[in-house]
């Protein structure tokens, strides 16, 4: 097992950081900064196959299996949405498919986002997590469990 934070720890850390901010304006700024921190998305994967369905903005998510762990690249043409996908990626980055599949379903709630962004569905937070699980299922078939 790796020495990095667990999914629960990573989630808690982001939730606490957001929680500590004084208002939603600050939180949105923080979310957008996280988006800006994403590694540049590889242009060769800016293809419709890697668009997440059910998001209004375009959200690309590309998974790659490295030593049994999934590494994600992500991008979006909307700033807050990009921040949201960055948060999700930060929580799920470089984990085994098994870890991802064992992750709790209420990450948006744990992050405090589901309660305050009624856009949970529309912003695609749940679609993003669903897509990550789908990739984990697909990629787990290629790794010993």
């Amino acid at each position: 097992m790796s020495t990095t934070k667990t999914i629960a720890e990573a989630t808690y850390e982001i939730a606490s950081m957001l929680e500590a901010l004084p208002d939603w304006e600050e939180r949105f700024s923080a979310i957008m900064s996280m988006g800006k921190g994403l590694a540049p998305y590889p242009e060769e994967f800016r293809r419709d196959d890697f668009l997440i369905k059910g998001c209004q903005a375009q959200v690309w998510l590309f998974p790659r299996l490295v030593d049994g762990r999934i590494h994600f690249e992500a991008d979006s043409d909307a700033l807050i949405v990009k921040g949201l996908v960055a948060i999700v990626v930060q929580i799920m980055q470089d984990r085994t498919p098994q870890e991802i599949l064992a992750a709790p379903k209420d990450i948006p709630e744990q992050l405090g986002l589901a309660q305050h962004l009624s856009q949970n569905r529309a912003s695609g937070l749940s679609s993003m997590l669903k897509q990550i699980r789908l990739y984990a299922v697909a990629l787990s078939m290629r790794t010993p469990s």
Partner: protein
Amino acid sequence: MHLTQPSAPLLDIAAIRTEFPILQRMVHGNKPLVYLDNAATTQKPTVVIDSISEFYRQHNANAHRAGHVLGAEVTSMYERAREVVAESIGARADEVVFTRGTTESLNLLATSIGARLGPRLAEGNIVLTEMEHHANIVPWQMLRERSGVEIRVIPLTDDGALDMGRASQLIDASTLVVSCVQVSNTLGTENDVSTLCQWAHAVGAISIVDAAQSVSSMAIDVQQIGCDALVFSGHKVYGPMGIGCAFIRRELLSDLPPYQGGGSMITNVSFDKTTYADGPMRFEAGTPNIEGAVGLCTALQWRNALDLRDVQSYKKMLTDELVAGLRLRSGVHVHGAHHGHSGIVSFSIDGVHPQDVGIMLDTHGVAVRTGHHCTMPLMKRIAPQGTVRVSAAVYTSHDEIAQFFHALDRVMKVLL
């Protein structure tokens, strides 16, 4: 702003607002709801909500075939609703078909007209506009797939109006149908549908008007428009969901084959041969949504009790306020230049994705819509990422517009 209401002295907006219970709602904890998504669906006054409860508490039965007292009551309520729809648009009751909404009305028309035209479709064309809602595009494309009919599209001028010069060329001797939206749900543009209908008639084509957005504030008269059909949804005119209408001019109605099959739309059924009813019932297969018709009837009566000229001047004022306020802000672009009294304004902000705006406005309690507004072809032309659309109703207050701008400024500060 509050002091300059000279053109709408008769509307007491504060009083009207008390009739809409949802306007009291708080969202996200303690923020008063500012509902500016009225082009998607309007809110319902208490009289409409109560008419539905009352229907189920006192009358509910199936219409037409039931001879008992509830059946008789409900049948007359349903037929009364048909009369009220007819009166509200200058039609006759036997020209009004109840449907689930605008979308179903247009599917009904495309299918039945398609079946009626038969082989003529392969040689003919159907004229639509670049600003149509998907509901007035896809049914015709499905007909095109079945028949090979050509679809022609009237383009927009750069300021968001129909290019009537091109329209006059596109409508020609092989045009079979002209179908056009009266007020664009994305741009707020009010189209000159009566001229289009005239041109359609001059070449013997059937003319259809999508009045989904106009019926809530415009006085509609199908005789004056001169259309063969006109469609709208109850839920966009203060009425319930699941009900809508198609006005179909008598001569056309009696000429069209049925759309769906089932109870009520028949005169005789045998496995060998079935014959169909005359009149609107031919198009109303199965148990109708009587609740919906009753609610729509109440909603139209509520609408008709307002002076529609007052409603229009008030909504014009709100629209102007929105357009002016948006234009004041740098980096903000208002789409289209012909909003009239629609209450509908779409805008974009340089370098900002509309969804980011929507997400953030929502946390302030301000409900707008972002995206393609079911008008993708139009979007591809004016704003590929979609727009932010603000849409006001008669119960929208100047105060809410101010709250919208206040929230928008805070959002822009974060985003830019």
